[in-house]
């Protein structure tokens, strides 16, 4: 058997409920866990060999949600899920969680983020898992096995769990904008130096728009807002038959978007002041 039947649905259901709860507190997750009595997922008369395999597959599935490209809240939920599954497993000695070497820097960054945003419960849980030696440090995330697959399984991730992938934003990042700003300043200064009038560049040298960096920023901000609106519409359309309010998800998206918007606004402010200095 290449995957545990029903397991993905159960995990996604739990993580979905956690996402809707719009919090990253462990108490909330523990309530959801207890509601579903998730620890019974290992029950049923399973013999030792099969139980080892089953537990390995369960941990592997849960581990996938712990890594990017999933949203921050989902990753924290996955961390709690791993903690719960690792501690409630029935195997003796306990099956470990496999993390690939390439993913470790990302996970350490994640832990640093947790500490910086003062989500101390999640950081503590991660530290407990490390101390309990729950991880295997491996070269590849999945253990290979050699049976001919009857069909190739496409791993479908739920769309709502993913961070909305913003290609424009990942291209025009804060760093890129800063660089552009610096180069632009430099360019303006060079023009001033070589033109006759020291205080401003020659008219013949004005080949580009002076405020193109600001314009670029505005365009990316617009794009991001458009994408957020589209996500909202998408979610609204998807769940029109449910009476529950989607405010939590909208605010979640907005809060993520607002982090980036804040960062961009900071750059905008600095660039306005810089423009004033040059001209």
């Amino acid at each position: 058997m290449s995957s545990v039947p029903g397991l993905q649905a159960d995990c996604e259901e739990l993580l979905g409920a956690f996402q809707e709860a719009d919090t990253v507190r462990f108490e909330r997750f523990a309530e959801l866990w207890r509601e579903r009595r998730f620890h019974t997922i290992f029950y049923g008369r399973i013999r030792a060999l099969e139980r080892n395999k089953l537990t390995k597959k369960t941990l592997e599935l849960a581990q996938q949600y712990f890594l990017p490209p999933y949203a921050f809240q989902i990753r924290v939920g996955a961390l709690y899920l791993l903690y719960g599954l690792y501690n409630t497993q029935l195997c003796q000695p306990k099956q470990k969680i496999r993390i690939a070497l390439k993913d470790w820097p990302e996970i350490q960054r994640f832990q640093q983020d947790l500490i910086d945003s003062q989500h101390y419960d999640a950081a503590y849980i991660f530290r407990t898992l490390r101390l309990a030696r729950a991880f295997h440090f491996t070269a590849m995330p999945k253990l290979l096995n050699y049976r001919t697959r009857k069909k190739i399984q496409e791993n479908e991730f739920k769309e709502e769990f993913k961070d909305p992938s913003n290609r424009v934003n990942s291209l025009i990042t804060n760093d890129v904008l800063e660089e552009l700003m610096n180069i632009h300043d430099h360019y303006q200064k060079m023009k001033c130096v070589i033109s006759a009038d020291r205080s401003q560049p020659d008219k013949a040298l004005s080949l580009i728009k002076d405020d193109f960096v600001v314009t670029l920023k505005n365009i990316t901000l617009e794009h991001q807002e458009w994408q957020q609106n589209r996500m909202k519409l998408f979610l609204n359309a998807k769940e029109t038959d449910e009476a529950s309010n989607k405010k939590e998800e909208e605010t979640l998206l907005e809060s993520e978007g607002s982090e980036r918007a804040n960062a961009l606004a900071r750059i905008k402010y600095r660039s306005y002041s810089a423009v004033v200095e040059v001209s």
Partner: protein, 307 residues
């Protein structure tokens, strides 16, 4: 402040699936269990399953008596699948293999010594006229050469003077015409450990011995050694999984493992035919030890001998 709200507060029997579960996994599993109860009369682990579980877990947590044999932290653990060379019809979909755990600091020769292949035990020669004089020399002692092939380099076993460089033929062949195989080199196996190699996971490599017995080796996993693993260096390379091969029994008594195989035997109903030692002598030789009938007899080593 975190209370360890471990959700498993009630001590329930882990064998019983709760009836009102909201988890899809459990509902599916319950149906499967019920189906199993209806169809299987005695639900117990068969001996293959017990063997497989034992092999996987017998070495977990072991510590050596001698502290110098302790595996150090930061040691790499490789999992290799070594495939059997048998080509049976029924193995078309999945070839049988054995799984070996190897430490990164171990030499290639240690792995070579731990691979047990039935072709090493073959005894060459036809012995119908002198069944009592089947020699003691097995092929392992006679033909000691072997090589590994990893990433374009052949690692030859050169520990004994009679070992030859089996890979030389291949290297000469690839260099004779422009066959597009790049630069193949040949080095000594005993100088290298696994840490010195650069390997691809999941890529098939080769182990060849006895001149033409080839095993495919695939590395399935590389990870750091863990506190719960076996930390006794002497136990590595550690066999964790083995394919169970059925032994061929004697045609006559159907009880003992076959030790002789005959061809063109006028006294046997099929060609080739397998016999255990006792039945072989009783059928083919009279009381004085004279050969009865025409046949060719070879000593036979069954692949299931390592069970």
């Amino acid at each position: 402040s975190i209370d360890v709200l471990m959700p498993s507060d009630k001590e329930k029997d882990p064998d019983v699936i709760p009836g009102d579960s909201s988890l899809l996994t459990l509902r599916i599993r319950k149906k499967a269990l019920e189906r199993r109860e209806e169809t299987i009369i005695v639900d117990r682990a068969c001996r293959q399953e017990t063997l497989a579980y034992e092999m996987e877990s017998h070495a977990i947590g072991k510590r050596p008596d001698n502290p110098t044999d302790l595996v150090e932290e930061g040691e790499l653990l490789l999992t290799l699948n070594i495939f059997y060379p048998v080509i049976f019809q029924k193995h078309k979909d999945h070839k049988p293999y054995q799984t070996v755990l190897v430490l990164g600091s171990q030499k290639l020769t240690e792995l070579r010594d731990s691979i047990s292949c039935v072709s090493d035990l073959q005894i060459g020669g036809e012995f119908s006229s002198q069944p009592d004089q089947a020699p003691e020399h097995i092929s392992k002692d006679l033909y000691k050469s072997a090589f590994f092939y990893f990433e374009g380099i052949f690692y030859n076993d050169k520990r004994y003077p009679e070992c030859r460089d089996l890979s030389r033929t291949i290297i000469e062949w690839s260099e004779s015409h422009d066959r597009g195989y790049g630069n193949l080199q040949s080095v000594k196996m005993e100088d290298y450990t696994f840490n010195d190699l650069s390997l691809k996971i999941g890529f098939p490599y080769l182990f060849c011995h006895q001149g033409n017995c080839e095993h495919i080796i695939i590395i399935t996993d590389i990870r750091l050694i863990h506190h719960d693993d076996c930390l006794d260096r002497n136990l590595y390379p550690l066999l964790t999984k083995k394919h169970w091969l059925c032994t061929r029994k004697c045609f006559v008594c159907k009880m003992y493992t076959a030790r002789w195989v005959t061809n063109k035997d006028s006294l046997a109903p099929e060609d080739p035919c397998f016999f255990c030692d006792v039945c072989f002598r009783m059928l083919h030789y009279d009381a004085e030890g004279n050969k009865l009938g025409e046949f060719l007899a070879y000593p036979y080593v069954d692949p299931g001998i390592f069970n």
